[in-house]
């Protein structure tokens, strides 16, 4: 019995959420969306997604990095630490530039970094790869 992999999209841009949700549902994913960090973390617990698409959310003091760090390193989210995170942003700013100290960088480095607008074939390929790997592992 095959279940559909779930993608959690955390992005403060409602338009971006709409188009990505439709795209992914069309590709056979179950999609959950959240417009901010707190809501995102709540949905993470509720739905235990297979992959998280996370925007940096620059307008709220790089909330995206905070969410990424929380999922990967906070004891509260230990059960979710292995869920891959694909970070997206409209600016081509790698976290390496924003965070100068290596120790900081390790805390914020996402599994994968993509720029917006998403290159749809590449985006789908990345999601397919990470979700396949996960279903193979379980």
């Amino acid at each position: 019995m095959e279940t559909r992999p779930t993608v959690l999209v955390i992005d403060d841009d409602a338009d971006f959420r709409s188009s990505v949700q439709a795209l992914l549902e069309g590709e056979g994913y179950a999609v959950e969306v959240a417009g901010g960090g707190r809501d995102g973390l709540r949905k993470l617990r509720e739905h235990r997604p297979d992959v998280i698409v996370l925007d940096i959310m620059m307008e709220s003091i790089v909330e995206g990095y905070v969410v990424n760090q929380a999922i990967k390193f906070q004891p509260d989210f230990e059960a979710y630490a292995d869920i891959p995170i694909v970070m997206v942003s409209s600016i081509e700013e790698s976290p390496d530039e924003r965070f100068s100290r290596a120790s900081e960088l390790e805390l914020v480095r996402p599994n994968r970094y993509l720029t917006k607008p998403l290159d749809i074939p590449l985006f789908l390929e990345v999601l397919a790869k990470v979700t396949r790997r996960r279903s193979a592992a379980t």
Binding site: D11, D12, D13, A14, D15, F16, R17, S18, S19, V20, A22, L23, E25, G26, A34, G35, G36, G37, R38, D39, M58, E59, S60, E63, S89, S90, I91, E93, K116, P117, L118, I120
Partner: protein, 401 residues
């Protein structure tokens, strides 16, 4: 009652005269300072380097290293250390020279305890002011550096959202799910395009005025029709946001010396801000009054208010008041969005108030804001009244009736 502005501050006294060291120590210790004394310049400098005091009192005339040398070297150690030199009447000339080398002030011998306390207090006050200013400069520089990255983000994120809609439409336009959303998505593309255009317009307006002026002409402008016009044009927007807008314009006319287009932009910005940064069921009150030589217009809202620390930055480019922490904080707030990006959490281009400030300054007026967190903000604009040059006084007076 000389109180150090922050905690116990350290003062170093360098004087070869034992009695002088003792009395300085007593006077300053009584004012709550931590005092260390040294009997010559060489030891004194070692002490200054190790102790990093806020202020150094140094006698100009000492055997060995002179007070002048001490002044120069303390400046090298840390230019922020305040230097006060003590000098006999015979060496006032040297004291002036010391001040040219960076000493803050001098104290002629003999001096009263009160005089020492006063000069120390003033010197420290200046130090705090100086440090505060420098801190502000550093923050401004950081803002400038983040500016490019932020501007890029502001321009690119709406483009990304639009592009993403169109790309998905093109690829999956035939699938029933996507086809059903087509009209809604196209509408959103238009809205985001409009916002992007607004941002670019504002940005270009500011960039263009860099080095030149926004105000093209100075003419008689009656603010009554301007304000009424702006209020009327935003009734729909206000209604959609559940905000009521009222204008209180008791006089028949409010003539100012201004540029009609500029004052329209000015009040357009202030009134849309007051609508957007408001609460459902809130009010916007626009009022005008004539004062000697000027017309004062107030735009008051019942929004979340502006925290004191944000008020200073309010007129900086791209600064926007962070959305208040509401119960929906971090969640897609879902406020009946007017303007703003898809997230609805931040509104406006972040350039409106800098433009207002520029316009008002060019017109020779002023703009200020009064705000209370939780109850709202009032923006007050002062514009120079138009003076009838040919018309009679009576005419001018009746026009205010």
């Amino acid at each position: 009652v000389t109180e150090a502005p922050e905690g116990r501050e350290r003062i170093v006294v360098i004087d070869d005269d034992y009695a002088m060291r003792l009395s300085c120590r007593q006077i300053l210790a009584r004012s709550g300072f931590e005092v260390e004394t040294f009997e010559d310049g060489t030891q004194g400098l070692v002490g200054v380097a190790a102790l990093k005091p806020s202020l150094v009192v140094v006698d100009l005339k000492m055997p060995g290293l002179s007070g002048m040398d001490v002044v120069r070297r303390v400046r090298d150690i840390d230019p922020e250390i305040v230097l006060v030199v003590i000098t006999g009447y015979a060496t006032i000339g040297t004291a002036v020279e010391a001040m040219k080398s960076g000493a803050y002030d001098f104290l002629p011998k003999p001096f009263k305890p009160e005089e020492l306390r006063l000069i120390v207090a003033r010197g420290l006050e200046r130090r705090h002011l100086h440090r505060k200013t420098r801190q502000l400069e550093v923050e401004r520089e950081l803002m400038r550096r983040r500016f490019i990255s932020f501007m890029t983000h502001q321009l690119k994120s709406p483009l990304a959202a639009i592009h993403q809609y169109l790309d998905v439409l093109q690829r999956l336009g035939d699938s029933p799910d996507v086809a059903g959303k087509r009209a809604e998505w196209l509408e959103r593309c238009l809205v985001r395009t409009g916002q992007l255009r607004e941002l670019i317009d504002d940005w270009l307006l500011l960039a263009k005025s860099e080095g030149s002026t926004l105000v093209a002409r100075r003419e008689r402008v009656d603010l009554r029709p301007v304000l009424e016009g702006v209020v009327a044009s935003y009734e729909g927007r206000a209604g959609g946001a559940g905000v009521s807008v009222s204008a209180e314009l008791p006089a028949a006319e409010y003539p100012v010396l201004a540029d009609r287009n500029c004052v329209m932009v000015l009040f357009d910005n202030l009134i849309t801000n007051a609508i957007d940064y408001n609460r459902r069921g809130g009010q916007v009150r626009v009022s005008a009054r004539a004062e000697p030589g000027e017309v004062v217009v107030e735009v008051a809202d019942t929004g979340p208010g502006i925290p004191a620390e944000a008020v200073e930055l309010l007129f900086e480019e791209f600064f926007r008041v962070p959305p208040a922490a509401t119960p929906g904080d971090g969640v897609d707030g879902g406020n009946a969005g007017v303007g703003g990006n898809g997230g609805r959490r931040w509104r406006g281009t972040g350039l409106g108030l800098p433009i207002c400030k520029r316009i008002v300054a060019e017109l020779g007026g002023g703009i200020e804001v009064e705000s209370e967190v939780g109850s709202g903000s009032t923006f007050r604009v002062h514009l120079p009244a138009y003076r009838e040059e040919s018309g009679s006084r009576e005419e001018a007076e009746t026009s205010w009736a």
